[in-house]
Every structure is written in structure tokens, then in C-alpha cells.
Amino acid sequence: MKSRVLELNASDERGISIVREKVKNFARITVSTASSTQSSHYPCPPYKIIILDEADSMTQDAQSALRRTMETYSKITRFCLICNYVTRIIDPLASRCSKFRFKPLDEENAKLRLEEIAKMENVEYEDGVVDALIKVSEGDLRKAITYLQSAARLHNPIIQPKPKRVDNEGDEEMVEGEEDDDDEDDSKLALDSKKITVNSIQEIAGVIPGQTIDSLLAACEPKKGKSAYPEISRLVQNIVADGWSAGQVVLQLYNKLVFDDIITAEQKSNIVLIFSEVDKRLVDGSDEHLQILDLALRISEVLTKG
């Protein structure tokens, strides 16, 4: 297996020079046909595989250097590119590959998997926690699992009486075996302590409490005779000082506004325009305070116009 598979990911150097040398050299080596004894154990295909993980972070030049290599050595070497965005792979490369699209997991499967993990780890949770997890993780199962684990660890105060650990200090081999026991201890303790709540999941995921968002929206609503500025600026200042991420503010405000039936379609489209602009600016690294303030004030303006 080792002589037949080369894996490179974004943490490796993958400039054009590496593609020209390392990848090409690896691709060039012919594979020996598997001996009959080996192939009787496991059927071994007559080619090598190069896995390029996170291929969308490769430079254009490096990608174009791959083109010829892929064709020339196609008899003995197959390439496997993994990426988030197929659009970042240059066309000539994409057309040389057969594509497999991995859709985000649907909720049913994600739910089943989360429940299974929770069961195996003896994690207890309230009703609705799994749904909350799926909602905050937006189809990202790893995120959901990380949250689940963190919730289990963080929000249930695990008391740690670990005299065993002290005995084994300095004895590396024993510690290895000990780890499993500890995990069991943890889960037993977790069993005794309280269940994971929906709130704890939201706190871990960094979801802003609905109240905060609601009050900000309320401040944006048109008021007769007086300006919305002082109230909005006060609320925004608090949001920033509380350390909520601006991206989350934008997302949650957006979700609230888009599904608000009172707002007319025209207003909505104007508001969405503002959202897209602010989002772009945030990604470019603008100051969060100013951007949220701007966002809120402009929404307020749109709402006032009617």
C-alpha cells in the first residue's frame, strides 16, 4: 500500500516545483504486478494512486503542471483530487476526472449518526438536542459531533478524582491502557451528572440569544419623530463588547428578516443587498463594530422608507 499510494494535502508544500518533481517521479515508477500469493489475499489493482487532498488550495500553475502528467501516466497512475469547490479546479483538470459530488448529509442520517454516537458514549441529552445540533451545524456532521463532545465535556461538571493517574505517572505504557478506563470513568460520571440541554449546545455553537437579536431588530423598526440611532448604537456596542462574532450576527439577523412576513418583498430585496455587501466587507477583514452598526442603520432606513 505504501509504495502505491501518495497522499499530499494542503499542509504539504505543493508548489509547481513539487508537482514537477515529486508527483511526476512517483507517477513515473511502474508497479510490479502483485505476486499470486498476495493477490489471492487481496486483489491488487495494477496501478498506483496519488491523492491530492484539498486540491482547491493548489495554485493554478501547479494544477496546469499536472495536466500532462495525468495523461501520460494514466496507465500506471490514477489521481484522486479532493476539494470543497470544484470551480477552483481548472477546467482541463476537471474534464480529465470523473466527478463524484458529495451532498451535505440529509437530516435523517445525521440524526441517526448523532444518536448512535451519543448512545455509544453514554451521553444523555434532553429532547430536541439532536435537532438543535443539526440546526446549528448546518449540515456539517463533524461540527455537530464536535459540539456534542464539547457539550458533554463542558456543561456537565466532570469531577475528576484520579488517584490512579498519579500512580502511573512516568510509566508511559500504563498510561496508554489507563486512557480507556478514564474515558469510561468520565462517561459514568457524565451519566450521574445532568443532561445536555439545548441551551448548552447553543452556547457552544456561539449562537446569539434570540432576545439580543430581537431587541436589535426592534430598535431598527421605524419610530415616529425620533431617530433610531442612539438605541441602535447602544445595542451594537453591547453586542461587540460581548464578543459575538459579526458573522453570526449577520446570519441570525438575515434568517429573522428574510422570514418576516410583514416586510414587503421589495424591502427584503433591498435588505438582502445590504447583507451581501456587509458580509463581503467582513470577510475582507473590516472592523466589525462599524460594519454591524452600518448594517443595522441601513436596515432601519429601508424599513422606515416603507
Binding site: R153, L154, Q160, L290
Partner: protein, 351 residues
């Protein structure tokens, strides 16, 4: 020694606010299964203090013995870059944004090197080493992409703690691999409590009113509040409730700029103001800070109708500052725009 450093809490228990957060960190550190962390919050909220305390909880007092290393890395184009590393036996602290666009090289080579070696000290409490990455939100996309696999592949030997002001610039794959920890700025009451504690230790005469004012003035930034507090006691022999709090020099200057702009709306004024901007910039005050301060100063003094508009343009030019190369252009553009808005409003009034 500054009060900020002198009275920095060293243990999780000694932290004054966000008790539940401290308790959670403590539980995590003791659980033997420590995840990667992404700690975010505004500056002066106590992110770093909390991290250092957590490290101490993980490894004991040994983490406080730190040394500074200077390492040389080679980029792909064979350029040498020097990079400073703060390290103890158990952890390493880096600020990759120091080297700007070359941070990817650092992440690739340094983290791998650390990840491939095991803990040197066998008696250490944890089997993994911790790498603290400061200013993670300033990491380039490439560097963040390089982190992804490293985080998974070397997880037996390596835990990452990323410190950032905001999570907006951190790519989703990193966010989903880390436990997000939000450190909110302390409330005014909590800050007063901390100031009181420090005052007691330093035998300052303490007054609640003054502490409240300091806390308000600092914009919920504890580090700043402590520095202001210290300055107050250093400058005045007797501190009373109504002793004026001296603002930093640059704030005074920005205040002056704002006043000058409001006094006279002529192009000649822009020229005058430019000199002041240059003055601020040469003293290494970030353009964003200048623009923000100026905006809030101006907004406080103009009519309510204009406020939304001014903020809109401030946000616009602040964005430009990040995209462009010469910040002075954008600062001046903002000033010109502001004067235009103000002037057209005033003329509109007269008609």
C-alpha cells in the same frame, strides 16, 4: 512593573469574572481529553490571561518558564525569514501574522516538526504539546488550509489554541474542528470589582464612582481600564471622584481633528487635517482605529438625520482601507465625504 502584568491572575480560580467559563476550562483541562480551542472576543477581555491559566492547569507551573527563540525559515523562493517563538517545555506560542504573507511556511514547517515529535518531558501531565497561535484571524487563507490536516493528523501530539478577535476571517473547516470559546468583555460592575481588588493590593484610595468612570471610559476593555487607573494614581497626588481621566494622546488629537472639521468645512481644512493624520500614522496608530474614533467623535456632534449616512460612509472607507494600500487616501476621502454630506445638509436647511 505595570499593574496589568503585576496583578494578572495566574490561575483559573483567581480570575474575577466569567466564573462558569473558568469552571468549564478547568473541567476540560482535567478531563484528559483536551480539544483544539478557538478563543475569540474583543481585546482586553482576558483571552490571553485565561489561556495562560488554562495551560497552567494542564501542565502545572512549568509553563511559566518561558524562553524566546529566534528561528530562521526558508520560503519556497529561498528567502530567509526570521521568526520569533515563545516557548516553554510544554507549549509554544507563535504569532504567524508577524511574517505577513509567509505565514504558510511557518505553519507548514513548524507545526509539523512539533507534531512529529513527542513530549520531551516524560513526567509531563499531558501527552500532547500545545501550540498557541496569536492573532489567528490574521492568518492567510493558505495558512489556514495548511492547518486543517495538521490538526487531525498530529492530534495525538499536538493541540492548538487559536486566539482571535473575530471568527469572521476563520475558514469554516477550522471552525468545525475546534471548540469555540467566546470570552465576552467584562461588564462595568465586574470591571469595578477588578479595579477594587487591584486598588486594595496596591493600597490605593478607592472610590466606586471613579472606578465606574474609568470602566465606562475604557469601553469595557479591562487592560485599558487598568492602565488608565494606574496613570490616574501616578499623575495625581490626591485622587477624587471627579478627577479628570486623561485620554491617550492620539484620542485627544482625533478629537481635535473632529472639532476642526466641524468648525470649518472648507477644502483648506482638509489640508490641515492631513498633517494631523500623518502625525497619527507615523506614530503607528492603525488607520482603522483613527477612522473609528473620528467617526464616533463626529457622529456625537452632528444632527441625528446625518448619523446613518456618516456611519455608512465610515464603514465603506474602512473597508477600502483594508483593500487598498495607502491608508491616507481613504482617511482623506472619508473626511471629504463627511464635509460634503454635512455641507449639503446645511445648504438644504437654508433653502
Amino acid at each position: 512593573m505595570l499593574l496589568v502584568d503585576k496583578h494578572r491572575p495566574r490561575k483559573l480560580e483567581a480570575l474575577h469574572y466569567h466564573q462558569d467559563l473558568s469552571a468549564r476550562l478547568k473541567a476540560l483541562a482535567n478531563s484528559g481529553d483536551f480539544p483544539h480551542l478557538l478563543v475569540y472576543g474583543p481585546s482586553g477581555a482576558g483571552k490571553k490571561t485565561r489561556i495562560v491559566a488554562t495551560l497552567r492547569e494542564l501542565y502545572g507551573p512549568g509553563v511559566e518558564k518561558i524562553k524566546i527563540d529566534s528561528r530562521v525559515f526558508m520560503t519556497t523562493t529561498n528567502r530567509k525569514i526570521e521568526f520569533n517563538i515563545v516557548a516553554s517545555v510544554y507549549h509554544i506560542e507563535i504569532t504567524p501574522s508577524d511574517v505577513g504573507n509567509h505565514d504558510r511556511v511557518i505553519i507548514q514547517s513548524l507545526l509539523k516538526e512539533i507534531g512529529q515529535t513527542q513530549q520531551v518531558d516524560i513526567a509531563a501531565k499531558q501527552k500532547f504539546k500545545v501550540v498557541v497561535i496569536n492573532e489567528a484571524d490574521h492568518l492567510t487563507r493558505d495558512a489556514q488550509a495548511a492547518l486543517r490536516r495538521t490538526m487531525e493528523k498530529y492530534s495525538p501530539n499536538l493541540r492548538l489554541i487559536l486566539i482571535a478577535n473575530s471568527t469572521a476571517n476563520i475558514i469554516a473547516p477550522i471552525k468545525s474542528r475546534t471548540l469555540l470559546i467566546r470570552v465576552a468583555a467584562p461588564t462595568i460592575d465586574e470591571m469595578v470589582g477588578v479595579l477594587k481588588h487591584v486598588a486594595e493590593l496596591e493600597r490605593f484610595e478607592f472610590s466606586n464612582k471613579l472606578a465606574e468612570r474609568v470602566a465606562e471610559e475604557s469601553g469595557r476593555n479591562l487592560r485599558r481600564a487598568l492602565l488608565m487607573f494606574e496613570a490616574l494614581y501616578a499623575q495625581n497626588e490626591v485622587v477624587k471622584d471627579n478627577t479628570p481621566i486623561p485620554p491617550p494622546d492620539y484620542e485627544t488629537l482625533v478629537g481635535q481633528i473632529a472639532d476642526e472639521l466641524l468648525a470649518d468645512h472648507s477644502p483648506a481644512r482638509i489640508l490641515l487635517v492631513r498633517a494631523k493624520f500623518y502625525d497619527l500614522l507615523t506614530h503607528c496608530i492603525p488607520a482603522t482605529v483613527i477612522l473609528k474614533l473620528l467617526t464616533f467623535r463626529l457622529v456625537a456632534k452632528i444632527d441625528d438625520v446625518l448619523k446613518a449616512d456618516v456611519i455608512k460612509w465610515a464603514a465603506f472607507y474602512e473597508h477600502r482601507i483594508h483593500l487598498g494600500s495607502k491608508v491616507i487616501f481613504h482617511l482623506e476621502a472619508f473626511v471629504a465625504k463627511f464635509l460634503r454630506i454635512l455641507e449639503s445638509y446645511l445648504i438644504g436647511m437654508e433653502f
